[in-house]
Subunit: 469 residues, 2 copies
């Protein structure tokens, strides 16, 4: 087995100064976004081509060195940093080509290192859009979004990252390249491999390029911000919106009054647009490709119905792009408001959308029982039942008094019992493997271990992520 120093020299020579970064210079890649995980790697490989990715994977495999793929490093489950010293972090950031969009077929080929916001920008004015949106889109890269099967705010309407993936090129653990860069939705020529690599968190292969599905960009849009008495009202309103305006819905987000308060307290630029506060807030966005659709009327009709039913206390329709951006910022700054308030625990729950309020109602006493006074701040995606059930310590307390794991387990157990998931859109990474082992049927975990063993028998790719290393 070669000396790690030899491997580093080999990479420095092969990849050049832009392609191999070691020592202190590797610090920016070392820690995860929450700054909780990550030890110094042997170095950071930044290949500029699929052939270079292959060479890196082959050399690491031969040397018995772990390869840890990293996209924008915005993940919350520590899947993109090393747990043990001496690994090679593989950044695809230099493979950031964006092909021409194909309007007649609705697709585009991109490199794994393309930042999501850059893709959105490249599509501006083309009449096409890529309908994946999430808070981290200014940093998150296509490869990481595929690896985590990212969700976000538009998933309930357009699907998750795996649903938007038509084709993919993957460097496999033995360094060979699978070219699955097809550009069709329907491809049943065998197992749905592209769907397997989506969400595999870099443990089965390194995604290097992808063909993504595009949608026509809408020509009109309407956005409303609503105050509601409680989450149960939000769920009822969401059901009505899906039935009457489902084909137009592009956003259906919720957050709590606690979360609103934290955001307003810590982010001075924010303002609250209504006269009345509520027990829950909903952001609704609808859009249409046709100028003939009376979008405002359709939205207003559902909202009037909601007011008549007592489901909506107050609301405003965005009258300008600036106002719309302000509504969205209220929602998108929920994590930041809570982060600035001090320590927090993040939980990425999904339950059937009709049971969101029930989950929150049942979870509260569990949490209060473990840590009286804990501040509960659920927010997220009304359309798909994805609740970011985040906690802050009791007012004045500096932490969670050692209840972190117990809180996480209770919430995960409740979500599971309700037909949901404790790892909705963030994945397992390194931090949620124990939950999966505890709460998922043994057959499921056995299947996952069998897949890992079959495709990466030597454990070269991202060992310790998704399944035990």
């Amino acid at each position: 087995m070669p000396d790690p120093a030899d491997l580093a020299r080999q990479f420095a020579e092969m990849l050049g100064p832009r392609g191999w970064i070691a020592g202190e210079d590797a610090a920016p890649w070392q820690r995860d976004w929450l700054d909780r995980h990550g030890v110094p790697p042997l170095g950071v490989a930044r290949p500029g081509s699929t052939a270079e990715v292959t060479a890196v994977v082959r050399a690491c495999r031969a040397a018995g060195v772990a390869v840890v793929p990293q996209g924008g490093n915005t993940g919350l489950c520590a899947a993109a940093v090393a747990a043990r010293p001496g690994a090679v972090i593989l950044s695809l950031a230099r493979m950031a080509g964006i092909g021409p969009p194909d309007p007649a077929s609705g697709s585009i080929e991109v490199g794994a290192g393309v930042v999501l916001a850059a893709l959105h920008q490249a599509l501006d004015g083309t009449g096409l859009m890529f309908p994946l949106h999430l808070g981290a889109e200014g940093s998150a890269q296509i490869g990481g979004l595929i690896g985590t099967n990212a969700g976000g705010s538009h998933a309930f309407r357009f699907g998750m990252m795996g649903d938007l993936l038509l084709g993919v090129e993957v460097v496999l653990p033995d360094g060979s390249i699978w070219n699955g860069l097809r550009a069709v939705q329907k491809d049943n020529a065998g197992y749905q491999l592209r769907r397997l690599f989506a969400g595999a968190e870099g443990t089965l292969g390194i995604v290097t390029r992808a063909v993504l599905g595009l949608f026509p960009a809408p020509r009109q849009r309407a956005t409303a911000f609503l105050a509601l008495p409680d989450l149960a009202a939000a769920v009822a309103l969401g059901t009505r919106l899906r039935a009457e305006a489902g084909e137009f819905l592009t956003g259906l987000e919720f957050f709590s009054d606690l979360g609103l308060g934290l955001a307003l307290k810590h982010l001075p630029g924010l303002s609250y647009p209504l006269a009345t506060r509520g027990g829950a807030y909903v952001l609704v966005e609808v859009a249409s490709g046709s100028d003939l659709v009376p979008l405002d009327d359709i939205l207003a009709g559902v909202l009037e119905w909601g007011m008549g039913q007592g489901l909506v206390l107050d609301g405003a329709l965005a009258a300008s792009e600036a106002q719309r951006a302000g509504f969205w910022r209220l929602r998108e700054e929920q994590p930041e408001g809570q982060r600035l308030d001090g320590p927090q625990l993040k939980h990425d729950i999904a339950v059937p959308p009709g049971r969101i309020a029930e989950f929150v109602a049942r979870a509260a006493p569990l949490c209060q029982g473990l840590l009286p006074g804990v501040r509960i701040n659920p927010f997220g995606h009304l359309g798909d039942g994805n609740i970011h059930y985040n906690l802050s310590p009791p007012e004045g307390a500096g932490g969670f008094a050692g209840t972190d794991a117990a809180l996480g387990l209770e919430l995960a157990r409740l979500a599971t019992a309700m037909g949901g998931s404790f790892a909705a859109e963030h994945g397992l990474g390194r931090t949620k493997i124990a939950l999966a082992d505890a709460l998922r049927p043994p057959e499921e975990r056995r299947l996952m271990r069998a897949l890992k063993q079959a495709l990466d028998p030597d454990g070269v790719l991202n060992p310790g992520v998704l399944v035990e290393g």
Copy 2:
């Protein structure tokens, strides 16, 4: 290893007369729908519960007997019948329970034996719909639809079967049960197993129950039947329809003048609704959940534009449910019209939707070169590029003069070169493995064999399907 006769006695006792069918009585399950494949099985097991499925799989595994799962037996690639004598055909037809639909969450739990049309019927009047539609829906069962990752006419808008699958229960090759019956879209707790079993053609596990996603049923609908000069016009019109009416499109189908002629000739009940014939025909259907949408105006606007551009020669909007059914029947009888005309070759191609006309234009000389006078009848799904590129022999000829395999290979090669698939929605089954081995990268086929080996090392489930047995 037990005597097969012992196994048959054991099943007869365990499953009872409704649950075990052997000898001549098993004939209805023996042959595939095209009556080209299938040898006599040991018998047909018709378990009534997941526990009975487990018992059948365990006993077959112990006896070294192959298990061949069969749904409605409407597949076109011989995946649901036995290639070697002595297999046990496993029919899930008795596991046909339909749970109550959940309108607030948009989901429903069903048994694998539920016939698709029965599910549609059960949802009638509930305000919900399951948006999978295909010609065989009167026979096709949920389990088979999952196994083949079925597509159909609504897939371009709502997704394929795997996209509509929230949760699944699977009996694994060792007889253990994986309960993945969750009811959420977002579940990133590890590899996307549900997506792996969708399209696995029963080679990795037996799907016994599923949780499916439902959508609000529309409140209004408009259907148009159009004659166009050629397929290129159809593609251009399709692009425009997606851009201006994409959120309403529920059907976007095409067929050829040859196909229309065959259907009108062989199916006396059919009538042609327009004054003018064309080079290609398109059926457009739009629907909305809102009564406020001027659906007719939106559709008419695009069609008027199409007429102005010379893309549409003639057209009619359905003025009644009977007329609408007549339009759809013209499309749906395309396979039957050709079947009644004599021998045929079916090819299930997908290309990027913008390249449909190009594919058809490039394929014609290839086919004519191999068999001069061969009659080409492409029809299918304009929205996703899925072309059922079916052939009839030259006028007066009784067959394809031994060019069958060469025709299939040329067409598959062209689809592959154009970024498409030669097995779009029908799967590989037994009949297209050779094509996959010839045309897909070796890494892809190696990955598939590795998955099969990992999950079904003894080759108990559907051996010889999807990968070589």
